[in-house]
Symmetry: C2
Subunit: 382 residues, 2 copies
């Protein structure tokens, strides 16, 4: 990468002719180009669990995510630094986005104590004491050397009183300024995170406050934390419409296939979620017919592929019966094959959404996934 | 495969010019050709643990092993049959050898009761009652559709009284005749198993008794069960010399790199062992410098590859530090990468042994591995 090229360039290639919000684009980063809307598999500890980097690439994933909180605790920054950054450490030479550690500090660590300057917390692994501040989070992410760094934010519980939400928001804004000031790595993009729960007034306020800072992109934070699907969609639609058009919009920690469809229709460009990878390790496959728990005895003698519509390594080489056998026998390969399948399913969905936007047929995909979800709901409540 | 071609053809390509015993060969089977001496990774439950078939192929493995006892209990023969055999079930289209189930019945199952006709036993999984006889073992292996089936044998403890060993031998001979009679699958080879512990008189007696049966190859059974390395080598040398020259010789369940070197020098052509795969899952790597426990803290900041001499995916893409991190964090990828490495190490060793035989330099490899083992022994007893 040349010394003076921007860390991120974002080109919008097509816009949905009907709703005018959904768009396809190309995001150029130091380690490669990402077609958007994009789904980023989560590689928490420097590995997308159970996959080699080559297998990850073959799922159609162009970019993956690393977790600052986890990597800071294990293996520690000295180790990552001695490798020259996370890309070399994990053997993934494609783009990487790192989160700020904020969400994990608030959801995983114990005995955290927050003040205006930062957060004291204890490691969920060994109870050791640590402190994260906006400056420290940026320093860690610069050492990780990700292509996109995220601002350190306070993540209050979704059901927190409005006054607390507003206080957390104000703090997150102050921290966003400090992150921007602390950030020195020229080849790394920096995104701001818009908070405000499902409260539209707060979301508007925060989008405006952060919009004054010259970030390379913006994220919608604080969703997918227990609110209803309807609230998730409404908040995403409302917030996405407030975000700069010419910069990538990233909906953090989301979500189900239907969530992705709705958010893409609302103009979101980037997603990350543990759902496809975690479900795979729990024996659940995402398929064109909905989710399947392959541990179920009815798959014992099912000679069909996990998903007849899928062309991944798992679906073109193995039967549901074989996958169930691996699951029952607790074989590691079950996790690998289902992770390959679930990520391929997610990346195929993203590709079909991108194609649908440029061809003006996004409506039909979204409707299809709404119908699938409604059908499932109906099956559950007889 | 044509209807009338033999299930196995074995061509000796070169012979060690010095000792005249070690040889390289080509073993042609229904599902492909295997250069010998060959190491067969163990795919107990229809998967070489943690690897896809493609990854297994890339380690240089030409043939793998399936366990009759395990596959009979899980997933059960109806499932394998509905897939058209083990090759399709596990997605491995290369050659497969299946054991007879004898060894596992005697080492894993509980409440086994042996009579002249066969063995009653209870499953180590759910305690269910089962019976294996020579005919049943062959029937199962024919359903599995392996390229090479093994005769059902009685495996007494290595330290059993001589009279018991002799009785087990006589029974194994009678069972070998019954296996040969029961065997109908024309495209499947059948091997006899020579027993007799470390007793040369018994080995000679049994080799002669089995030599009268027209098997496609012969195995040395009942070793690697606790006897000393010296006894293993002496028994292998003695027994291999009694086995037909023009048929493959298979040393079952062996062994360490040095064991393989010594046995190859004695004229053995085939091996299987869980050592490389099981060690990998226990964080231990076989390397050109000996075994390394990569969980050790001294590898925390080691930026070198697991084995500098190795060109496998693991050694060309990742550091010891990264592998140790994966191990400490209990990441699945640690097992996958170390299994890839250990099997590549074993297959590289086999390749170098094959090359050394045809080039007349086998001595130096065997000496090198003897020296490595002696060095290790010395390090252990200061």
């Amino acid at each position: 990468m040349k010394g003076h090229s921007p860390p991120l360039s974002f080109e919008i290639l097509s816009q949905d002719p009907k709703n005018g919000k959904a768009r396809t684009g190309m995001m150029r980063l130091g380690h490669g180009t990402v077609p958007t809307p994009a789904f980023m598999p989560v590689g928490t500890l420097g590995t997308v669990k159970s996959l080699t980097p080559g297998q990850l690439r073959e799922t159609g994933s162009a970019i993956c995510l690393g977790n600052t909180y986890h990597l800071y605790l294990r293996p520690g920054m000295d180790i990552i630094e001695s490798h020259g950054g996370l890309h070399n450490f994990m053997g993934w030479q494609g783009p990487i986005l790192t989160d700020s550690g904020g969400y994990q500090v608030f959801s995983l660590s114990s005995l955290r104590k927050i003040d205006e300057d930062g957060v004291n917390f204890r490691s969920h692994i060994d109870g050791s004491h640590h402190r994260l501040t906006p400056e420290k989070s940026i320093e860690i992410q610069e050492t990780l050397g990700s292509d996109i760094a995220m601002c350190f934010d306070e993540c209050p519980p979704a059901n927190a009183p409005r006054e607390d939400l507003r206080k957390a928001m104000a703090r997150t804004t102050a921290w966003a300024h400090r992150c921007k000031s602390a950030h020195t790595r020229k080849e790394q993009a920096l995104f701001g995170i818009i908070q405000g729960g499902t409260d539209q007034e707060l979301r508007q306020e925060h989008a405006e406050a952060l919009g004054e800072i010259d970030f390379d992109g913006f994220a919608i934070g604080g969703l997918s934390v227990g609110e209803s699907h309807e609230d998730l969609v409404a908040t995403t639609r409302f917030t996405a419409a407030l975000m700069p058009e010419n910069k990538p919009r990233y909906l953090m920690g989301v979500g189900t296939p239907l969530d992705l469809c709705e958010a893409v229709a609302a103009g979101v460009d980037m997603f990350d979620c543990v759902m496809p990878t975690r479900n795979a390790r729990q024996a659940t496959a995402f398929t064109s017919e909905g989710k399947l728990n392959l541990r179920n005895r009815r798959f014992r003698d099912d000679l069909g592929p996990v998903d007849p519509q899928c062309q991944c390594l798992c679906c073109t080489n193995f039967t549901r019966s074989y996958i169930r056998h691996l699951i029952v026998a607790k074989e590691i390969l079950a996790s690998t094959l289902l992770t390959i399948h679930n990520l391929t399913f997610y990346q195929d969905l993203m590709r079909s959404l991108r194609n649908a936007i440029s061809e003006g047929t996004l409506d039909s995909i979204v409707s299809h996934h709404r119908a699938l979800a409604a059908q499932k709901k109906q099956t559950k409540s007889p």
